[in-house]
């Protein structure tokens, strides 16, 4: 079995991301560890979106909803753990938690449930309708977060001390990077398995030709809904990690700019590529940091670059490096 050029590039990208924080510490600039963590987390969110968008062709413009819900799960559980106030569900109570594994699990479930609800309505439509509806639903969660005062509303919610992971001091930036990196790699492996599985086959086929899939007896709606839910779950997990990185959640995690950014990450890296989102996130964060340091107008130049990529370099970074995509 020959190793394709894309596989080599993927490995190189993974190693490069891992190397950044170590190099940063060597060079005495620990802040770059935080930047690398940001890359890993945004990459994770985009890996999640890529399951819906890249494999399923579902252009969701509302993934910020899942990202934000994951973030709020982390913030809300942590604040209840901090204040020792259990959730009161009338019949029973549940205590908050500051343990990352618990928070992640709840974030996955919450993201999945929200994605199931949004998907069940949105997936009845397609094309432009789908884009606009997912956007509108994300706006709905955004306004909800702003106007619901219990958890900070517009002000957001602080996590005073980063949540804990068994056996690791998460306040050390490098440790937290490694946790996020491990989650990212695990998510990439999961999405690789999904891509090559029966489910993935049905999902990719329904992107290429919905009628064909139905006429061999597979209902595209259910496949897509499942993909949308998995996608939402991964993005929610990224949101929980992001909340812990910033030790803060606010409605801006739910804003439509965030949804747009996730799509941008995928396009920058290369649509439908396994490591496309990671490459995109690395480029984006670097771009934001370097240009942001040079000019307050960096978004203007980001816009120009993005326009250039869409119009002239559709394969994204991995497309440039690895050539055309191949589908087995």
């Amino acid at each position: 079995m020959t190793i394709s050029r894309e596989t080599v590039i993927n490995l190189a990208l993974a190693l490069l991301l891992l190397a950044i924080p170590y190099a940063a510490i060597q060079l005495g600039n620990p802040f770059y560890v935080t930047l690398a963590t940001r890359m890993a987390i945004l990459g994770l969110a985009a890996v999640g979106l890529n399951i819906a968008l890249g494999l399923g062709g579902l252009v969701s413009f509302g993934h910020a909803a899942f990202f934000g819900v994951g973030g709020y799960v982390a913030g809300i559980l942590a604040s209840h753990a901090m204040s020792m106030q259990p959730f009161n569900f009338g019949l029973f109570t549940l205590s908050g938690s500051n343990q990352m594994p618990v928070i992640w699990l709840v974030a996955l479930v919450a993201g999945g449930l929200l994605a199931a609800a949004i998907g069940a309505i949105s997936l009845r439509t397609s094309g432009v309708y789908f884009i606009m509806i997912t956007l509108a639903f994300a706006q709905m969660t955004y306004y909800f977060a702003i106007s619901w005062p219990a958890y900070g509303g517009e002000d957001g919610l602080s996590i005073l001390i980063r949540n804990q992971f068994p056996g690791v001091n998460t306040m050390v930036p490098l440790n937290y990077f490694l946790i996020c990196y491990a989650v990212l790699i695990a998510a990439i492996l999961v999405s690789m398995l999904i891509r090559d599985s029966r489910f993935g086959a049905a999902l990719q086929a329904s992107r290429q030709n919905e009628v064909r899939v139905a006429s061999v007896g597979i209902a595209p709606f259910r496949i897509r809904l499942a993909a949308f839910v998995i996608s939402g779950m991964m993005t929610a997990l990224a949101g929980a990690l992001y909340a812990d990185l910033n030790r803060f959640v606010s409605p801006s995690m739910l804003s439509w700019h965030m949804s747009g950014e996730f799509i941008v990450l995928i396009i920058l890296g290369g649509v439908g590529r396994l490591y496309g989102p990671v490459a995109g996130a690395m480029l984006f964060v670097m771009f934001e940091f370097l240009l942001g340091g040079m000019t307050e107008r960096w978004q203007f130049f980001l816009g120009l670059v993005l326009l250039g990529v869409v119009l002239f370099a559709r394969g994204g970074l991995i497309g440039l490096l690895a050539g055309r995509a191949r589908h087995g």
Partner: protein
């Protein structure tokens, strides 16, 4: 007094609806004819408002500003179409979303570059200042009535344009069959530019009129854009009639929701809490309406021939 308040709120809902219609009409027209989803439509709204404020400040005349807003938005739209949008017609929606998202960044940051971060101020023209009496004994702001009037005029004008003129015939032909219109010998590239500029001018007009009421600032187009999306999704993408009905529906539901929901909750809980819960629910109300419409009719209220 309660009737007067009710009438006033209905007028407010109509005014919001009419303003949304100006935005939604352009969006839906562009989608209907060119099959393009344009996120940067809100930027054209902003361009219109800034042009109006800048010219009004320089000349002292709101009316010159209004003319400038139409011209500037149409010109910005035409340039945008020629430089960027034209390359996107054959692309999938994903590319269109991305490219027009990039345009938003460029427009917003570019405008900030030119005009600075502080909001510009635009005043209502002398002629339209003040209030007029309305049934029920209350008074209503003249300027808002004028906006409703302009909206109705634009709706009628669009209807006539599309059903009675040569340009309208071509637009309808373009909606039903893109190849046929090429075969008819119509210069399709020019037609597309004209339609795009027309949609842009409507957005610019909305921006200028609303700018005088609120404040003219970078990013002002984005919330309106999203409301306009909700409008055309409810109305049926590509349908002008759908845009009109959807816009009025969204305008009325949003205004009446903000007005009535807190009162409704006020019967169940103390007023300050009712205000919070009612306010929170009111801010989501139009999205709930949208979800409901789509669950019943996935193609919107007035589905266009193709989607």
């Amino acid at each position: 007094m309660q009737t007067a308040l009710f009438i006033e709120q209905i007028l407010n809902g109509l005014q919001l609806g009419v303003m949304l219609f100006l935005m939604a009409a352009g969006l839906t027209l562009i989608f209907g004819v060119m099959g393009l989803i344009n996120l940067a439509h809100g930027s054209l709204y902003m361009v219109g408002a800034f042009a109006c404020a800048a010219v009004a400040a320089a000349t002292g005349s709101f009316w010159l500003g209004l003319a400038a807003s139409l011209a500037a938005a149409a010109a910005a739209g035409a340039i945008m179409e020629i430089l960027v949008i034209r390359r996107l017609y054959e692309r999938d929606h994903l590319d269109q979303v991305l490219a027009t998202f990039a345009l938003i960044l460029i427009f917003s940051e570019g405008t900030r570059w030119l005009f600075g971060s502080f909001p510009l101020y635009l005043d209502i023209p002398k002629l339209l200042q003040g209030t007029v009496p309305i049934p029920g004994g209350s008074r209503y702001q003249l300027y808002r009535l004028a906006i409703i009037g302009v909206g109705v005029a634009v709706a009628v004008g669009l209807f006539l344009l599309i059903s009675k003129t040569r340009l309208g015939m071509r637009i309808r032909a373009g909606e039903s069959d893109r190849e046929m219109i090429g075969a008819l010998g119509v210069d399709i590239r020019t037609l597309y530019t004209v339609v795009f500029a027309l949609g842009a001018a409507l957005a610019g007009l909305a921006g200028a009129m609303v700018g005088a009421l609120q404040s003219v600032q970078v990013g002002m187009g984005e919330p309106v854009l999203i409301l306009a999306f909700v409008v055309i999704v409810i109305g049926g993408i590509g349908s002008i009639k759908g845009a009109l009905v959807g816009a009025l529906l969204v305008g009325l539901v949003d205004t009446m929701g903000r007005f009535l929901l807190p009162q409704l909750f006020g019967m169940l809980m103390p007023p300050s809490q009712a205000g919070l819960v009612g306010g929170a629910l009111a801010s989501m109300l139009i999205y709930i309406v949208m979800a409901f419409v789509l669950a019943m009719r996935p193609q919107g209220l007035f589905p266009a021939a193709k989607g």
